[in-house]
């Protein structure tokens, strides 16, 4: 701890804190134009300079940690003069087009120009002609750009795309795509979010609305389990006319949080009541007559609880294979770890300096996890071992080791890892015996993961202090999920790795905690946001419409084991599940009345929905909802099983996996042919006797799917990527993600 003084106030700084950090924490204002809390300082605007006693000249507060006893002054006439001059320079030749600029009303340049009283152009320089760039969803106007570099920092340090850079050239400096003419990135749009001026804007949003016409609805993203905070911006005033109430854009508190492109751009998934117009009485009858409700995890905790109570009341089955697998996984896991929940959060990943990621194509499965890994790689120099049967070029600059294992051998690979990670741990003798007696030769040979690779991994982790082990849905959906879960549970309990089990959907975790799920559906079924004989859903073919996740209140449990509220951004004039349930004898008036009833035994708290907060405080503390209580379990009766025969997947295999920005039918609208394509390596093309551009037909179980085929030279081997986002909700949802496929060319 360092003690020093800012503006006469005695303050302390922790290791790593700068003068600016401390000032902000203390509520002392220092103006900045380029500072972004979540990245390293850009240090380009120079407005945050301060005076320090004994130091001649100014000190840059954003980049300088204080020294013991330092006396800092943040405001003086001299500082004010220079800050005014910097603003005068920023205003040189900045186009006077605030009237049509998207950023007007929320522009840092506008605000600071006003704050520093710059009412005319004091300096002048020869103007230059600069071409506007259209980069897909992103529109870049270099003449509005102030070269703060926030976009470049966020793209590299937080996202990991590293797709843009500053083209240095003094006054001519500009932002350009890195290493290519056209922007080649995952289109997260975070560069748009952090742009303090109107230089980087969303092509779709441009010229559509002014900031002051939009109402902001704080909510939680519905697309994956990261549970990112976002605000739906809805036009309700100004030029809005009747029926025009729509979401115009999504924004985020970019100072502290990050969104992927699906969250930012795929907000237009409100359910249209005209597409499923059955009367509520038909839905009630269908449920009364059914054996089971099939449902997906794209629902709130409250809806899950309603379904659970319907099960209890009506004696019907609840069928959600994907959540059931997660439930089974975590149940077996808890019996070894002694805790109901896994230990790690996204924040733990960000703090890590050693990461093992296995069983997920994480960059598209869960961008939130990817971004956390990127931060760890950049900010901590984390060593990242990415273990998967498929290369992922998006992780190239974050992973330090790629370990390619054979499809299906996850159990063997994790057993080898557990053996290594637990070799000096105090695990019980029976489990120790199982680990000691593993047939390493067989497991290595079948999985293709060598002793040397694991030794290299351990060598790279040698100096690390904070370690995280992440497992994804390939292992959760694996046939041997229970034994894998025990291995991972042991790693959580007995190694110095914290563990994260990545839930697949927005509320997989919540559903798995709230519902008793059945292994068989059988007989007649009602689908709730899933397939069934009678379908109640907010998207796709359906009999009756219910509100989508941006049309209702409720909560989700995120990957951080945090209960997060979401809110109504768009109106919905039809009925909800709660209306149906009321007809079937359930008693709560509003869906959110169930928030208080969520099961305490699973870590939920008896808190009313309306008292849940949903924001980040000005210093970046997450004040959304609440975290599940940790619950100790004491069912230590389970024994690790021997790892016996590992399955083999020969011939052509597909991996159910979505492209960037896509998750399910909520994100699918407007998807193009490229996104829907089957993607394979050149070897896959040869093995399947197809070539780039062909139309192909795949037979996968009962499904026959037609797709267009694309060769991706960054891939190797005979596994292709098959998207599922454009299939009906729930398709391939619970099953192991790799599948042998019969493939036929049907056109080119």
């Amino acid at each position: 701890m360092i003690t020093f003084t800012i503006d006469g106030r005695h303050v302390t700084a922790a290791k790593g804190e700068t003068i600016l950090n401390v000032a902000r924490r203390e509520g002392i204002y220092i103006p900045t134009m380029c500072y972004l809390s979540k990245t390293t300082p850009c240090a380009s605007c120079r407005m945050c300079v301060v005076e320090a006693e004994g130091v001649e000249g100014f000190v840059l507060s954003c980049q300088t940690p204080p020294t013991e006893g330092l006396v800092v002054n943040t405001h003086s006439d001299l500082l004010q003069d220079e800050r005014v001059n910097i603003m005068r320079m920023y205003d040189v030749n900045h186009p006077l087009e605030c009237g049509v600029c998207d950023k007007s009303g929320e522009c840092d340049l506008q605000n600071k120009t006003l704050e520093f009283g710059i009412d005319r152009q004091h300096f002048s320089a020869r103007d230059q002609i600069r071409d506007i760039k259209e980069w897909g969803r992103i529109h870049y106007d270099p003449s509005l750009c102030i070269l703060c570099e926030k976009c470049v920092h966020v793209c590299n340090e937080i996202i990991g795309d590293d797709a843009i850079e500053v083209q240095f050239g003094g006054y001519k400096s500009t932002i350009i795509p890195k290493n290519s003419e056209q922007l080649d990135c995952t289109f997260c749009g975070e560069c748009i979010a952090v742009c303090p001026v109107g230089a980087l804007v969303s092509s779709e949003f441009q010229y559509r609305a002014n900031a002051w016409e939009l109402s902001r609805i704080p909510a939680t993203c519905a697309h994956c389990s990261s549970g990112c905070a976002l605000e739906y911006e809805v036009k309700t005033s100004g030029a809005a006319s009747a029926g025009e109430e729509r979401i115009f854009r999504v924004s985020n508190n970019f100072e502290y949080t990050t969104l992927c492109g699906a969250g930012r751009f795929h907000f237009d998934f409100g359910a249209d009541i005209s597409e499923g117009s059955a009367d509520i009485s038909e839905a009630v009858q269908a449920i009364q007559a059914c054996d089971a409700i099939r449902f997906s995890s794209l629902i709130t905790n409250e809806e899950a609880l309603i379904l659970q109570q319907l099960k209890e009341r009506l004696g019907i089955k609840l069928y959600n294979e994907e959540a059931r697998h997660f439930q089974e996984f975590m149940h077996a896991y808890a019996r070894k770890s002694g805790q109901l929940h896994y230990s790690a959060t996204l924040e733990d990943i960000k703090q890590s300096d050693a990461i093992i990621m296995i069983g997920s194509r994480i960059s598209t499965d869960n961008p939130g996890v990817r971004y956390a890994i990127t931060e760890a790689a950049r900010h901590n120099g984390a060593k990242v071992s990415y273990m998967h049967p498929l290369e992922d070029v998006l992780l190239h600059n974050t992973m330090t080791q790629f370990v390619k294992y054979e499809v299906g051998t996850e159990e063997g690979v994790i057993a080898l890892l557990a053996q290594e990670l637990l070799k000096n741990a105090n695990v019980n003798t029976e489990d120790k015996a199982v680990l000691d007696q593993l047939d390493e030769g067989y497991l290595s040979a079948e999985s293709n993961v060598g002793e040397e690779e694991i030794a290299d991994m351990m060598a790279s982790f040698l100096r690390s202090k904070k370690r995280t082990f992440i497992v994804g849905s390939d292992v959760i959906s694996h046939e041997q999920r229970e034994n894998i879960a025990k291995l991972v549970g042991l790693i959580d309990a007995y190694s110095d790795f914290k563990v994260m089990v990545v839930p697949k959907h927005v509320n997989t975790l919540g559903v798995s905690l709230i519902c008793d799920l059945d292994a068989e559906a059988g007989g007649k079924s009602v689908g709730y946001n899933a397939q069934g004989d009678f379908i109640i859903a907010s998207s796709g073919v359906r009999h009756m419409s219910v509100p989508a996740l941006n049309q209702q209140e409720g909560t989700f449990v995120s990957i951080n084991k945090q209960v997060l509220p979401t809110n109504v951004a768009l109106g919905f004039s039809g009925h909800t599940l709660n209306d149906v349930a009321s007809c079937l004898g359930l008693s709560q008036k509003e869906t959110i009345d169930y928030t208080r009833q969520l099961p305490e035994g699973k870590g939920f708290q008896r808190i009313a929905f309306d008292t849940l907060e949903n924001f980040y405080d000005p210093l970046g503390k997450d004040r959304r909802g609440y975290c599940l209580q940790s619950i100790a379990t004491n069912e230590a009766d389970s024994v690790l099983n021997d790892v016996e025969e590992l399955p083999e997947f020969n011939g052509t295999v597909v991996y159910h996996c979505n492209p960037v920005l896509q998750f399910n039918s909520y994100t699918a609208s407007g998807a193009d042919e490229e996104e829907r394509a089957l993607i394979g390596s050149p070897q896959f093309a040869i093995a399947a006797k197809i070539s780039d551009g062909d139309s192909v037909e795949m037979t996968l179980g009962q499904h026959v799917i037609r797709r267009y085929f694309r060769v991706d030279n960054t891939l190797k081997g005979t596994v292709a990527l098959n998207p599922t986002f454009d299939l009906p909700l729930g398709a391939f949802d619970g099953q192991y993600r790799f599948e042998k496929v019969k493939i036929m060319k049907v056109g080119s």
Partner: protein, 665 residues
């Protein structure tokens, strides 16, 4: 001392405006008065002032061009608001005045913008560009006012004058390879490690190597030392190289390799100088064949520097980067004079980069190489490293042996620490001078680590005689010396203490006093000119020997020196050669290289300068070293390098001391 008409350089105030030329007061600095053999300079202008060498200088245009050069060269920067806009405003206003359209208000604006740039710019280039401009506006106000009052162009506004500018920094200037150090450190600070590595590789292909075993002369001329302590420059170089290696990226070359231009160059020796020559020639599209006597590539860094200081897998990455450009390597081939005669005909140019691989004698009585137990440092390290790194030859096992090494430089440190690792019973370093000098000749870390590992240092001593029985070494006699201070303040004299000698029973005497070049490959009839210490003579600027088309660089030119020195020479030589083979055998230096040499002569670093605008007292980071018990019996790398956190803290200490200097001729 330079003859000047006017100078404000480094705070001097020389104004000979009204004096006859023979009464001119001289500048105290070695200013670039003579630009090159063809041209005299008219003016020199830079970060710390301006000097005019004659009366006939258009100061208004000079100021304008300096501001323009800042614009042109600001691709090095353009990273902050005051520098980016301020620089442009300076230029626009100065040019407006120079072309005869300026106003008095423009002068005021110039001063205002200058002040903001000086107070708030990100790097020194933005902070210092206004300095000489303000000097000119102050001392030659009438010239500016003449343009304004009479709305006329400055006197040479339309005249053709050469303005040659160069970006430098004190550390870059001090580095023999002139590495863009602020550039690679900024890459670390911005977490853009690929950019960091590209900045290094512009002039230094061996990033892994010089991030580990460089004696870092740059740190002696780091401006941060004027404030607290120098930035740990050398170790920050590892970050970019490790990023490329850890993530298995394809090599980040500083530029794309040009297509083949059909010229061929032969390089003798695959050490740092040879590799560097090959790298930069290959980038220029020249086909390069490298001949190497040893079975392995890398020269002394491979077979001299031990694994615990320079892991071979890292060095091999640097070598791979050279191979990646299509350079051909021919190993196990000792080049003879006949081959040289052939090469001269076959190739467009030949580079000799054979280093210095002959161990010099300690000069004692009975010093006969045939005595068993007499072992040259080079031969000893060859055997150790060929076995430990490549499994070639035989393991060196010194179990139960007593080893005496005579030396005091890096090579002798390698010898004694390798002897410890080879399990010697006792290892003694004999050095004529004192502890302070041995630290100055190597590094504090190197000396300290050797002591930790159990090397016994005996100072103020020298071997006087080898005692053998039937040509087997049995013992050594030593003389003892004392340092007698020089009454005139010079280097203390070593004076032998009569009767102070002593003897020791030893098994090995390893001379590591110095090395000389093995130049048997030079055809006698070439009569290459040599230096007085038997290395190949060049002018130290273009590295061509006395024979047309035959170049030399590295230790065989300079004498045993550092890796970075070899790299710097070879980089320059490659640049000269690439033009030589294309323009009919003419030797030329680029303006950038001419300026580089001028600046080095002037020295960019100013030890006495007071640094402003930075908070003193941020501690220099020190990387973790492997504990002595864990390291002394094996080859594990001793220096673990910075953690990311340490590296970022250290990078934040860099003050980005870029400067711009310009000559008008």
């Amino acid at each position: 001392m330079s003859k000047v008409y006017f100078s404000t350089w480094r705070g001097e105030a020389i104004n000979n405006l009204d004096k006859p030329e023979d009464a001119w007061e001289e500048s105290a600095y070695k200013l670039p008065q003579q630009y090159n053999e063809h041209a005299e300079s008219k003016a020199f202008i830079g970060w710390d002032g301006v000097a005019l060498f004659c009366k006939d200088v258009d100061v208004v245009r000079l100021a304008t061009e300096y501001a323009a050069q800042y614009q042109v060269y600001s691709e090095a920067c353009g990273r902050c608001a005051p520098g980016r806009w301020g620089g442009r405003i300076l230029y626009d206003l100065l040019d407006k005045i120079a072309r005869g359209e300026g106003t008095v208000a423009d002068l005021e604006h110039l001063k205002e913008v200058s002040k903001s740039m000086q107070m708030t710019s990100k790097c020194e280039i933005g902070k210092t560009v206004p300095n000489p401009l303000l000097d000119l506006m102050e001392h030659f106000e009438s010239d500016f006012m003449d343009c304004i009052d009479n709305q006329k162009a400055s006197k040479h506004y339309n005249k053709e004058i050469n303005y040659i500018a160069k970006i430098t920094a004190p550390c870059t200037d001090a580095c023999p390879a002139h590495v863009d150090i602020p550039g690679y450190i900024e890459g670390v600070r911005d977490l853009r490690f690929d950019d960091s590595l590209k900045a290094t590789r512009q002039t230094m292909p061996l990033a892994h190597t010089c991030g580990r075993v460089c004696p870092h002369p740059c740190e002696d001329e780091c401006r941060r030392a004027n404030l607290d302590s120098p930035v740990s420059i050398m170790e920050l170089k590892r970050l970019g190289a490790d990023y490329e290696t850890d993530h298995e990226f394809h090599f980040f070359h500083p530029a794309e390799k040009k297509p083949s231009i059909g010229k061929r160059v032969c390089v003798i020796g695959a050490g740092p100088a040879g590799l560097t020559t090959a790298y930069y020639l290959a980038l220029e599209g020249i086909d390069v064949d490298v001949y190497e006597e040893l079975p392995v590539l890398g020269g002394e860094v491979a077979v001299g520097v031990p694994e615990y200081r320079m892991p071979i897998d890292k060095y091999n990455k640097d070598i791979e980067a050279v191979k990646d450009l299509g350079v051909t390597f021919i190993t196990n081939t000792r080049v003879s004079a006949d081959m040289m005669r052939q090469f001269e005909k076959e190739y467009d140019a030949v580079m000799i980069a054979v280093g210095t691989r002959l161990s010099k004698k300690v000069r004692c009585e009975n010093e006969r190489p045939e005595i068993e137990g007499y072992w040259g440092a080079i031969e000893m390290l060859d055997q150790v490293n060929l076995w430990e790194k490549y499994g070639i030859g035989e393991k060196v096992d010194l179990t139960g042996k007593t080893v005496v090494c005579v030396g005091g430089g890096f090579t002798s440190m390698d010898v004694v620490r390798c002897s410890i690792r080879a399990n010697a019973k006792k290892v003694i370093m004999i050095y004529r001078r004192d502890e302070k000098t041995i630290i100055r000749n190597t590094t504090y870390e190197e000396y300290h680590e050797a002591v930790e590992e159990g090397v016994e240092f005996i100072f103020h001593s020298a071997v006087s005689r080898m005692n053998d029985e039937n040509d087997v070494l049995k013992s050594l006699d030593f003389d003892r010396f004392e340092l007698v201070p020089d009454p005139d303040g010079g280097r203390p004299q070593l004076v032998k203490i009569e009767g102070g000698g002593f003897s020791k029973e030893v098994d090995f005497l390893i001379p590591a006093v110095s090395q000389s070049a093995d130049l048997d490959l030079l055809p006698e009839e070439w009569e290459l000119e040599m230096t007085s210490w038997a290395t190949i003579l060049t002018n130290g600027k273009d590295y061509m020997t006395s024979r047309q088309g035959i170049f030399a660089a590295g230790d065989c030119e300079y004498g045993p020196m550092t890796i970075v020195n070899a790299v710097g020479q070879a980089k320059r030589a490659a640049s000269v050669i690439s033009r030589y083979v294309q323009n009919g055998g003419k030797i030329t230096l680029t303006d950038d290289e001419i300026m580089e040499d001028h600046l080095r002569k002037m020295k960019v670093y100013d030890k006495k300068e007071k640094v402003t605008g930075w908070l003193a007292g941020l501690p220099r980071q020190v990387s973790e070293k492997l504990h002595v018990d864990v390291r002394k019996d094996n080859n594990k790398e001793v220096n673990l390098g910075f953690t990311q956190e340490e590296a970022l803290s250290e990078a934040d200490r860099c003050m980005r001391c870029y400067y711009i200097a310009m000559v008008a001729h």
